[in-house]
């Protein structure tokens, strides 16, 4: 089936034309293509028309382009149907490019990207997470934008799992957590982009697949936004790191389930990161952009070179030719197909007018970054590759990029309507409260946050840790001041896998609600969002059902609220023979802060101020921290609606204009009790409730609620303001001294703080 071609390097012809279905399947497996028989047959048909057999490099190239990772073949149908229909006049570019581009002010645009780096991180947490950061930075950079903030939502198995209970080939969650955090730290801190938001979540279903999502925000002058598109007569210049055997088959590896053999088979699919190549690469690319020396810019990510040149040329209606032997290599003896699909890090492709080539090469030389001419744009829509003078590739780019699209069958999970709700009052309120506070999903994430430089670039106005110095509490969203004006960007990332696990639809709607709450809490107007949809194997109808329900909910909330989804990523196959992850639709929300001097923080400011609860509390405990720590079953995941969320959000933002609001915190994991505890911890102040609060009021996780601190003299007017709009607002208590008192129980702030601070560090150490 494989015939070596008589050339002075490794090149094989693959006999597709005479292959039957069984052989096609075998070829796909042996070459690591991860294409199914139908897809292979389509390729066979194409080459039959050409009257020849493909070379290995051509098949490998198609496997990259048609992978789940690159062409979204399982998800596109549903995303288009439910999610991509919200528009806004301030969107400059959504979904089409590597990152979303949104208007910030007259002169500037902000850029948003969010991606997963799950499979590599499960195999090699440090390198996987580091290169995840590297990749997301390039996605933002290739739009011509300066990256200004990083975000990293992370998901792991429970930290107390015993080593002997780990499935074969699975790494301990504590090892993965430490490795991933170190990878993000060492890469993010070195490139000098602050990591300002994120989350860390633990659940048993992440045991065999940890989830590492990475997001990035950038800022650019509108006139400098660069498309991933070449122009007639352009020269292609490859810049950045050398190309090696690391990261071969990364995308096909990410488009299949992991199993116990993944470690040995896929180690080579994990790339190696070099932040000290990336840091000057950012400077040099931005200098080229600022001087207007390139027509197009695209990053080399999944699929490497094979997913870049053809697409840049085709976007302009052209083709291209490539001199593959010009690509600078890390090692000798690489076959052409390996060079073509290698995912080695820190590489970018520029399309440049011939007259500017010397200027561009000079800028990269100044920074000691390799820059090489590797091809040029041609008139016909065909991509040809030459290696040492031999033509080794000739395919229509439109065929290569016409990946399949599936409308996969799905079964929607029926929320357990018939199940009995077990939720009952706790026998000991304080014990339950302490258990909630010390749960790693609730507890202080200081151990993680401190390891990231969240201040570099000197633009982080509202920081991820807020309150008295060295004993801060969690905030709701970070606020960045990206330009010389006082306008800011609020950034948050959210998802609640306990809720999506029980009910993908309402769990996802709750996630959207929480993202909006967080943005509103710091006094920002929700502006856009990106999604990273992490799910199991889409070929299984019940997994596909989770995906479809989740996307439906997201589309319903986004269109009703009027918030556009500007960028996204789908990561399937987060599944092993042992288990699948819970549905994890991670959202990255961006809000506009009109004046950063009016941003609001989460911790209580002054004793004697009144504390108001905004929103409605129902007995909704599905996926709650309360049900988890009390081992009580609950299926009623909190409900919401886009109209309700919008009405409350608008009223909240209006109230911030009309009243002096001292602190605001959204109510999420652990309910009102945990929200108030966090507000107390940040300032070492207490809370005194006006009435006895019962367990539903304290621990329910109903959506669309906030806790607000106002002057007592404003209390009546503040509540009337909401009531007059038909919304709920209730005076729940006062900021007090050193004791948190809910009527049903009380506790010293010091005691609460201690368990909250040690919830994560009892596993990680400090």
């Amino acid at each position: 089936m494989y015939k070596k071609i008589n050339v002075p390097f490794d090149l094989y012809e693959i006999d597709l034309l005479n292959a039957d279905d069984e052989q096609l399947k075998k070829i796909s497996e042996e070459m690591g293509l991860a294409l199914n028989v139908d897809e292979m047959k389509r390729i066979k048909e194409y080459f039959k028309q050409k009257g020849r057999n493909p070379y290995d490099i051509e098949l490998q190239s198609l496997a990259q382009a048609w992978s789940e990772h690159c062409c979204y073949k399982s998800s596109k149908y549903y995303l288009k149907q439910f999610l991509f229909n919200v528009s806004a006049d301030y969107i400059i570019s959504a979904i089409k490019e590597d990152a979303g581009v949104v208007e910030f002010d007259e002169e500037h645009a902000y850029v948003v990207a969010l991606e997963s780096h799950n499979h590599p991180s499960a195999i090699e947490p440090y390198g996987g997470a580091a290169t995840g950061i590297g990749g997301i930075l390039r996605d933002v950079l290739c739009m011509g934008a300066q990256p200004i903030a990083l975000v990293d939502p992370l998901f792991f198995g429970n930290l107390d799992v015993k080593h002997e209970d780990l499935p074969k080939g699975t790494k301990h969650p504590l090892y993965l957590l430490s490795g991933v955090v170190a990878g993000i730290r060492d890469y993010g801190n070195r490139v000098g982009i602050p990591t300002v938001a994120g989350m860390v979540f633990f659940d048993e279903n992440y045991l065999t697949n940890c989830i590492v999502n990475v997001g990035c925000i950038g800022i650019a002058k509108k006139k400098n936004i660069v498309p991933s598109k070449a122009e007639r007569g352009d020269i292609f210049i490859l810049v950045g790191g050398l190309t090696g055997r690391d990261g071969i088959h990364g995308v096909t590896f990410a488009s299949a389930e992991l199993d116990e053999k993944s470690e040995e088979e896929a180690r080579g699919a994990v790339q190696l990161g070099n932040p000290i190549m990336k840091e000057p690469l950012i400077h040099a690319c931005l200098e080229v952009v600022e001087k207007g020396l390139c027509t197009g810019l695209k990053d080399l990510g999944g699929g490497g070179l094979s997913c870049v040149i053809g697409e840049m040329a085709l976007a302009a209606g052209f083709g291209a030719e490539v001199y593959l032997d010009k690509v600078p290599l890390k090692e000798k003896g690489m076959a052409p197909w390996e060079i073509w699909i290698s995912e080695s890090q820190e590489r970018m492709m520029l399309s440049v007018k011939p007259q500017y080539v010397d200027d561009v090469l000079y800028i990269f030389q100044k920074w000691d970054i390799p820059a090489t001419i590797v091809g040029r744009v041609n008139e016909d829509k065909i991509l040809r590759i030459y290696y040492q003078g031999y033509k080794i590739y000739e395919m229509d780019i439109e065929f290569v990029t016409s990946g399949p699209e599936y409308c996969r069958p799905y079964v929607s999970k029926k929320p357990e309507v018939d199940e009995i709700e077990e939720i009952a009052e706790p026998t000991n309120y304080k014990d339950v409260f302490l258990k909630m506070l010390s749960h790693p999903n609730v507890a202080s994430k200081e151990w993680v946050i401190r390891q990231y430089d969240h201040e570099v670039r000197a633009n982080t106005v509202v920081k991820p840790l807020q309150g008295r110095i060295n004993r801060e509490t969690h905030g709701d969203a970070a606020v960045i001041k990206p330009t010389s004006s006082f306008k800011g960007l609020a950034i948050t990332s959210d998802v609640n896998p306990w809720k999506t696990k029980i009910d993908p639809y309402w769990g996802t709607a709750s996630t959207f609600d929480e993202m909006v709450r967080n943005l509103v809490a710091v006094n920002s107007k929700p502006h856009s969002f990106a999604d990273c949809l992490n799910f199991g194997n889409p070929e299984k109808p019940e997994r596909m059902g989770e995906f479809v329900e989740s996307v439906k909910a997201l589309g319903w909330m986004a269109s009703g609220f009027g918030l556009p989804c500007v960028s996204g990523n789908v990561s399937f196959y987060n599944e092993t023979p042992y288990q699948s992850i819970p549905p994890t639709p991670t959202l990255l929300g961006v809000g506009i802060v009109e004046d950063i001097r009016k941003a609001i923080t989460s911790y209580f400011k002054t004793k004697g101020n009144a504390v108001v609860l905004i929103g409605e509390t129902l007995k909704e405990f599905g996926g709650s921290v309360y049900s988890a720590v009390t081992n009580q079953k609950s299926f009623l995941v909190p409900r919401t609606s886009p109209e309700k969320l919008k009405n409350y959000s608008n009223a909240m933002l209006e109230s911030f204009k009309n009243f002096k609001v001292y602190a605001c915190h959204d109510i999420s994991d652990g309910g009102l009790a945990i929200a108030i505890a966090e507000m107390c911890i940040g300032s070492h102040l207490g809370f005194e409730s006006v009435n006895k609060l019962d367990f539903v009021e304290l621990f329910s996780e109903s959506n669309t609620r906030w806790v607000v601190e106002v002057k007592e003299s404003d209390l009546k007017d503040y509540i009337d303001f909401f009531v007059s709009k038909g919304l709920k607002a209730k005076h729940v208590g006062f900021v007090a001294d050193e004791t948190i008192s809910f009527g049903s129980f009380k506790i010293d702030v010091d005691e609460a703080e201690k368990v909250w601070r040690e919830g994560l560090t009892r596993f990680t150490g400090w």
């Binding site: 070195r190 000290i276 030389q365 946050i449 390891q451 001097r597």
Partner: protein
């Protein structure tokens, strides 16, 4: 010198990453300031319009970051490269009295270079480093606000306009622990005190000397920043450029200046009288 004559260079190589905000801090005060790649001082490949000379400037700054990745010892590569091409120039620069500032990684560079503690006025760059900035006691990178007590009696040209006793500059580093030669620690501290070379010491929120986390790295004698014997070379681990404005402080939301401004203001004032 008039303010508009003053020219400041923030030196950069691959991995320095705080140059933008450092340049901005100087520019905010009306002086000319630019980020200059080390190669612009010596390399043949640099085009004419981008070639620079140390004597073009009146103040040099080594900014924060991870120069060359800091995979060896923090600042070691940047200082070695600087020494190999600019040692004489920088020696003359310092001897003439022009100021040199090192922030965070820049402090590490100045220590590796032998410019700090800088006990010998006639030989402003020592042959080998006389102190070190070791790995934090917590053994990892930490980013946190820090309170600094200003203890300089007037020698350091970078803090003369500082009005507050205690300021807040954030730290963000993995290697910031001031270490002196073993057995000679107290001797070094005495000498620094005597010469008025101690500039900032870590204190807690009440202004008292305290241990971790107030002293975020375990520095000897809580030292956060020192100057050379002449007072014109200053290095510190905390980042004044990150608190130039008050809105960069935790929970201060006005458009007033922040604690860090005084550092830049002081050196400009010094150069005005130069």
């Amino acid at each position: 010198m008039d303010v508009d004559e003053i020219k400041v260079a923030v030196l950069r190589i691959e991995g320095t990453n705080c140059e933008d905000e450092t340049v901005l801090a100087f520019k905010n005060l009306g002086v000319f300031c630019e980020a200059v790649h080390l190669k612009q001082f010596y390399s043949d490949m640099i085009r004419d319009d981008e070639q620079r000379n140390i004597t073009d400037y009146h103040c040099l700054v080594f900014p924060g970051g991870f120069s060359a990745g800091d995979y060896v010892r923090a600042g070691a590569i940047f200082s070695a490269r600087t020494k190999s091409v600019l040692q004489k120039d920088i020696e003359n620069f310092i001897k003439t009295g022009y100021p040199v500032l090192g922030i965070c990684n820049g402090f590490q560079v100045l220590v590796e270079l032998g410019a700090l503690p800088g006990f010998d006025e006639d030989k402003p760059i020592a042959e080998k480093p006389e102190m070190a900035l070791g790995v934090n006691e917590s053994n990892r990178f930490e980013c946190r606000p820090s309170f600094l007590k200003h203890e300089n009696r007037g020698k350091c040209v970078f803090t003369r306009k500082l009005k507050k006793d205690v300021v807040m500059f954030p730290v963000a580093h993995a290697e910031g622990r001031v270490i002196f030669p073993m057995g000679k620690e107290d001797e070094f501290v005495e000498k620094l005190k005597e010469n008025d070379q101690i500039v900032f010491r870590y204190v807690n929120d009440k202004g008292d000397y305290a241990g971790y986390p107030w002293n975020p790295n375990g520095s000897y004698y809580n030292i956060a920043g020192i100057c050379n014997v002449k007072g014109n070379v200053f290095g510190l681990m905390p980042h004044p450029e990150r608190v130039f404005w008050s809105y960069q402080h935790p929970d201060e939301r006005s458009d007033e200046y922040g604690d860090g401004k005084a550092v830049f203001e002081s050196v400009i004032e010094y150069l005005k009288r130069f």
